[in-house]
């Protein structure tokens, strides 16, 4: 059986890639993809913990399903907001969204 540490390392790497994506990418859509990666890392963490720590219990798996659902809702909302901004400003670059500062 694959040891738990492997899953945790994978999810840690995924999370770190997601954080990098949020910090380094300048397009709002790609920032959103970074956030999705982070959420997927979390879901993986939950499933791995559920399978290894309390087999037969489904709490962790249920939480993972909830996270996927909420993440889908969040993407829908965020894309709508990005499109709205794009229609006004003809850009989705977060660096150019600087009408509000300090």
């Amino acid at each position: 059986m694959v040891p738990l540490e492997n899953f945790l390392a994978l999810s840690g790497i995924l999370f770190a890639i997601g954080v990098y994506g949020v910090l380094a990418r300048r397009s709002a859509v790609l920032v959103l993809m970074g956030i999705e990666l982070m959420l997927n890392a979390v879901a993986l963490n939950f499933v791995a913990f559920a399978a290894y720590l309390d087999p037969g219990q489904f709490a962790g798996v249920v939480i993972a399903v909830f996270i996927i659902t909420v993440a889908a809702a969040e993407v829908g909302l965020a894309l709508a907001i990005i499109i709205r901004y794009f229609r006004m400003q003809a850009t989705s670059n977060v660096d150019e969204a600087a009408a509000l500062k300090w």
Binding site: G18, V42, F49, A59, M88, L100
Partner: protein
Amino acid sequence: MRDYTLFIPEYWAAAAACLIIAIEIARPSLPRPTLAYLTAIAAVIYGGFSLFYIPNDPESFMGLIQVDDFTTFFRVLGAGTVAITAMLSATHMRHRASVLGEYYGLLLVALIGLTFMAAARELLTAYIALEILSFSFYILVGYARRDVFSAEASLKYILLGGFASAVLLYGVSLVYGVSGTTFYDGIAAGLADQGGDMDLAMIAGLMLIIAGVGFKVSAAPFHMWAPDAYQGAPLPITAFLSTASKAAGFALILRLFSASFVEEGESWRWAVAGVAVLTMIVGNLVAIQQTDLKRLVAYSSIGQVGYMLVVIAAIGYGGPEIGEQASSALLLHMVGYVISTLALFTALTAYYDRTGRDSSIRGIRGMAESQPYLALIVTASLFSFAGLPFFAGFATKLFMFQASAEPELLWVIGVAIVASFISLYYYLMVIREMYLFDPEGGLQRFRVQPIMWAMATLLFVGILFVGIYPGPVFELADAAVEPLFQVGADAGS
């Protein structure tokens, strides 16, 4: 137990939200402020329903959601906030959006999220409640039509908010991995089994949770969204954001820390104390150089969060007994803060609606000449934020710092007092603009709408009442925090 009758106020709020959207679709010709009044009435009825739960013993829905005095406290506080926000929106939002049904519906949905954040006793439930509140805010902040500021504020808020949620969830997953459960009591029991020593993974998870919730209440290293969201949002939503999101965030923090982590204070209290100090300093220093009033209020509210975080640190340093006193003082301060903020925004909304000025500080120049009563209320609420005697902020801050005066925390409280003095400086700058200059553009004296006048007066009386005679509110706050530490102590023993 599956007791579905515990959530009758929430059923009502959800039904009223749908009803308000349906009314707008069915009757497009309805005068626009009507929806606002309906929302306010619905919120008041929600508050009325929740009063029926006072005599009951704490009851929980399968251990997930607990309905006790603490929940009732936040139900009533949230209902009042939503009612006043809806009333402020009546004239302000009339020309700023073409469809308003969803706007008012989402206010009520946010109220449900706020309540469940205060009532949740399980991390997933708390997270879902937090997202209900946050999603409502993402939309409400960006609601103003053809307003670039509003769209940009909403964009920044949702991207940073999503990031913070992911960080929070990663923390939750680590806590779940170590303790094997997401129930608050279960976490405490799991920690007790390990002999009081906290696992490194547990500490990491806890820090990530503090970061995630700290984002939601806009504590200092995670506060960057707040000024943008506050400035871009429509004025009533700024009021709602600065009251509801903070009340809900602190409700969640109090529930979680009092139940799960109160016994293991050594491992996290230094982090909260550090965040508190940083939040006070950053909020109050950056506020000095602001030229936009909404942004200034945003930074000043960040400073207020710093004062409130001192209480959370005191729970870590003092244990359950000190924690209980400090928490009830925190709730008292929260009431004073909410009333002062709402009074400030009621006066500002009445003023800006009438004059059509933008929200820069110069916009209120000479307000004492054109509308002296509103200027008085702005002054009173700013003095209350600064903590001058006879206004709400003085008594509540005094109680809060007194209750959390642990020896290790004295320097934090010292910083808080210095920060309060700094805050007085930029509040006085605003007051100076109102009183010492003539109105720009030859603005004449004008009358305020009677309904705004009545609300402003009510809140003004509230500021003075809490400031001069805080006894009754303090007793309510005492009763509200009683169930918190009781349950935590039971699970820990």
